[in-house]
């Protein structure tokens, strides 16, 4: 369970989140959507305590993030970035297994886990496990990123524009894959995107962020029917 309570956040002198309150239930997928710079990535970093709120509280499993040990907090969430950030000096298998290895898992268990996850994200481990990140396509890299985020089976998954850099066909394919994986693993997911279609395709609920404020947060159908002028502008621009 993740909750924001009247959260204000700044980056430098700029206010990026202004009085945001929201709640994500276990096993639910919340998609935060908004233009670049609207404050979506900041929301994810607050959950991981890579940033701290200026006012208000961010609660993870009922505890203020500031009471969590940051390392333990981060290890309890998988993180997927738009740039993926695979380690170029490690094989695909080692990339996926890095967090288990750092958490003290035995080598054989780590490798077995990495291979199972590679299979889950549609990359046969016998074929891909020993490759270097430079030998993968963009879509394959993104799949490895998802596998890496799931490595120690964390209860939460934080995804920052995970499919943003991909072409439309690959993106559609990965959306279907994501839905399938989410049915299997049932994580609490917060995904941020600037793509309204992606938000409707993936979210159990969709939150619209504009200029640091959460202007709407509801089921996709409700958002789609919204009469709020800000939401409408975004919708019309995206769906026209």
């Amino acid at each position: 369970m993740i909750a924001f309570e009247a959260v204000h956040a700044r980056r430098g002198s700029r206010v990026v989140l202004d009085d945001v309150s929201l709640r994500v239930e276990p096993g639910e997928t919340l998609v935060l959507v908004g233009r670049s710079g609207a404050g979506k990535s900041t929301a994810l970093k607050l959950i991981n305590r890579m940033l701290e709120p200026e006012r208000g509280r961010v609660l993870v499993d009922g505890r203020d993030t500031r009471d969590w040990d940051p390392i333990a907090l981060r290890r309890s969430a998988g993180y997927v970035l738009q740039d993926v950030g695979l380690f170029p000096h490690m094989t695909v298998r080692r990339n996926v297994g890095i967090v288990p290895a750092l958490s003290g898992w035995a080598q054989t268990r780590t490798d077995a886990r990495a291979d199972a996850l590679l299979a889950l994200v549609g990359l046969p481990p016998a074929d891909f496990g020993d490759r270097w990140p430079a030998q993968l396509s963009g879509g394959q890299r993104q799949r490895v990123g998802v596998a890496r985020a799931l490595a120690i089976d964390p209860p939460r998954l934080l995804m920052d524009e995970p499919f943003g850099a991909l072409d439309a066909v690959t993106r559609g394919e990965l959306h279907r894959e994501f839905a399938r994986i989410q049915r299997e693993v049932r994580k609490t997911v917060i995904l941020v995107t600037h793509d309204m279609r992606e938000a409707f395709a993936l979210g159990d609920r969709v939150g619209v962020i504009h200029d640091g404020r959460l202007v709407a947060c509801d089921a996709p159908d409700v958002i789609r029917a919204s009469t709020d002028p800000v939401v409408r502008t975004l919708l019309d621009a995206a769906l026209s």
Partner: protein, 509 residues
């Protein structure tokens, strides 16, 4: 002697010098890595600290190495002659490339990779070890490569302060004007530099292309093994030894060898030779600090260059002043060896004969059409060229050129210049058919050769005084010129020349 022949007859020494060379480069590079990589890491994290740090390291690199050795000599603990000072200088030189490439390597890492590392819950230490250092490694190795190759070259210069290494052959060859000996040192140095460069290049390329985190263990183990072998080779001699120094020209080396062999012949004390130690300043510093126990100085040089006294022309007055001054500063001057190596103004014998030129007074008439070259010390010193020019009214065609003492005789013989200042006992005077002009107005002060011994050494080993005392007044200018010529002109080994000389006077003592 051919190059191969030289290496064959000096095989043991070549290996020892090569071992010292490798040990110095390895030790300084390893220390520079141990210091430079952490400094680079800190500097990359804190630019406010890193800026001044790299600026300071850069400043050190702009100091010419010989000058840096000079600065370090008089410092306590880290100074003095020998490998210690050389190591300090080498480490200072090696630091900058390593610090710089560490910073560059760390800062060039894609920020999204670092964000991923943080987001997945790596601690700062884990991120450094598993992500940042492996990714910066090719860059760091590139810096190590630069440091090591520069080190191979700089160690050569460190021979000037008695650090050993293959530079000893280069200095020895320069002072003997013997190309074979220079090459005997220079060629292995060049090969060593290429081998080091090539090996590190392969390592760097291997890292860059694969990115695989192989164990650094074998490489470090091999380096440590080589270092151990080098240290063992260079320090086989432990225990108390009498250290004999000399300056870096033939006569001083011969006199150093003469001191060393005399002590070996007439006492049971083992001797360490630190010959070719640069100029007066370095020998003086070394003797003052007790890094060497004795060397042969010239009375006039001691008076003006060491003790900063005005020039005097009475030989016994000069000896008295110098004896007192040395005594006041913890050194003992022993009895003069017998010859006076004063300056000699030299011209080609052919020129002198053609013009009937015999004295310095006569030179003034010819000087305006001639070019002159002098050693740096002679050109600048109070008792050198300025006084000479005003006494004899000398004005040359151009401002006299500064020329290294090891090259100046050949420059005169080859006609590049027409007048030089040399030593009255220079063997090359005969060898190159030169003529010394008579100092008819008694300008040059006396330069009697005098052994100077660290006083504490003499107290511990009075036999040294007795042994060296046997030479008092026994070395004539003719003896000295003969020995100089044997080494300079006939390419004989200084040790053999000195041994023969001691044999000839030995029976009479």
């Amino acid at each position: 002697m051919t190059l191969i022949g030289f290496w064959r007859t000096h095989a043991a020494e070549v290996w020892q010098l090569l071992g010292q060379h490798v040990a110095l480069v390895l030790a300084s590079t390893l220390v520079a890595i141990a210091v430079g990589v952490p400094v680079g890491i800190i500097a990359a994290r804190r630019p406010r600290l890193g800026g001044p740090l790299t600026a300071a390291a850069g400043l050190v690199q702009t100091i010419p190495s010989l000058a840096l050795f000079g600065f370090l000599l008089p410092l306590p603990f880290i100074g003095g002659i020998g490998a210690r000072t050389a190591l300090v200088a080498l480490i200072l030189y090696a630091l900058l490339p390593i610090v710089r490439t560490t910073i560059a390597g760390l800062q060039s890492i894609d920020p999204s990779i670092l964000e991923a590392a943080d987001a997945m819950g790596m601690t700062a230490r884990q991120r450094l070890r598993h992500v940042e250092l492996p990714l910066a490694l090719p860059s760091i190795i590139a810096g190590v490569r630069v440091s090591a190759v520069v080190g191979v070259g700089t160690v050569t210069i460190a021979a000037a302060i008695g650090a050993g290494g293959l530079g000893e052959y280069i200095y020895r060859g320069l002072s003997m004007v013997d190309g074979t000996v220079i090459l005997a040192g220079a060629i292995p140095v060049a090969v060593l530099a290429m081998v080091v460069d090539g090996a590190l290049y392969l390592l760097q390329r291997n890292r860059a292309s694969q990115g695989q985190s192989r164990r650094a263990g074998p490489v470090i183990a091999a380096a440590a093994l080589l270092l151990g072998a080098g240290v063992a080779a260079s320090s086989l001699s432990v225990g108390e030894r009498v250290v004999v120094g000399s300056k870096n020209f033939t006569e001083s080396v011969i006199l150093g060898e003469l001191m060393a062999q005399t002590i070996e012949r007439y006492t049971d004390l083992p001797v360490d030779r630190r010959l070719n130690l640069g100029g007066t300043f370095i020998c003086e510093q070394a003797l003052r600090a007790g890094d060497i126990d004795l060397y042969v100085e010239y009375s006039g040089t001691a008076l003006t260059a060491v003790f900063d006294q005005p020039v005097q022309r009475d030989p016994s007055a000069v000896l008295e002043i110098v004896r007192t001054r040395y005594g006041d500063t913890g050194r003992t001057m022993l009895a003069p060896l017998g010859f006076n190596n004063t300056f000699a103004i030299l011209v080609r014998a052919a020129d002198a004969d053609a013009r009937g030129l015999r004295t310095l007074s006569q030179l003034a008439a010819h000087a305006p059409g001639w070019r002159a070259a002098f050693g740096y010390e002679f050109l600048e010193r109070q008792d050198g060229y300025p006084g000479l020019a005003s006494l004899y009214g000398l004005r040359f065609a151009d401002r006299p050129r500064v020329m290294d003492l090891t090259l100046i005789y050949r420059a005169l013989a080859a006609g590049q210049v027409d007048v030089i200042a040399g030593d009255a006992t220079a063997g090359l005077i005969e060898a190159l058919d030169l003529t010394a002009l008579e100092d008819d107005r008694q300008y040059f002060p006396p330069y009697d050769a005098v052994p100077v011994v660290h006083a504490a050494t003499l107290l511990r080993h009075p036999v040294i005084g007795a042994a060296i005392g046997r030479l008092a007044g026994r070395v004539t200018a003719a003896d000295m010129r003969r020995m100089n010529y044997a080494v300079d002109g006939q390419r004989q080994d200084p040790a053999a020349v000195v041994a023969r000389f001691l044999d000839t006077i030995g029976g009479e003592v």
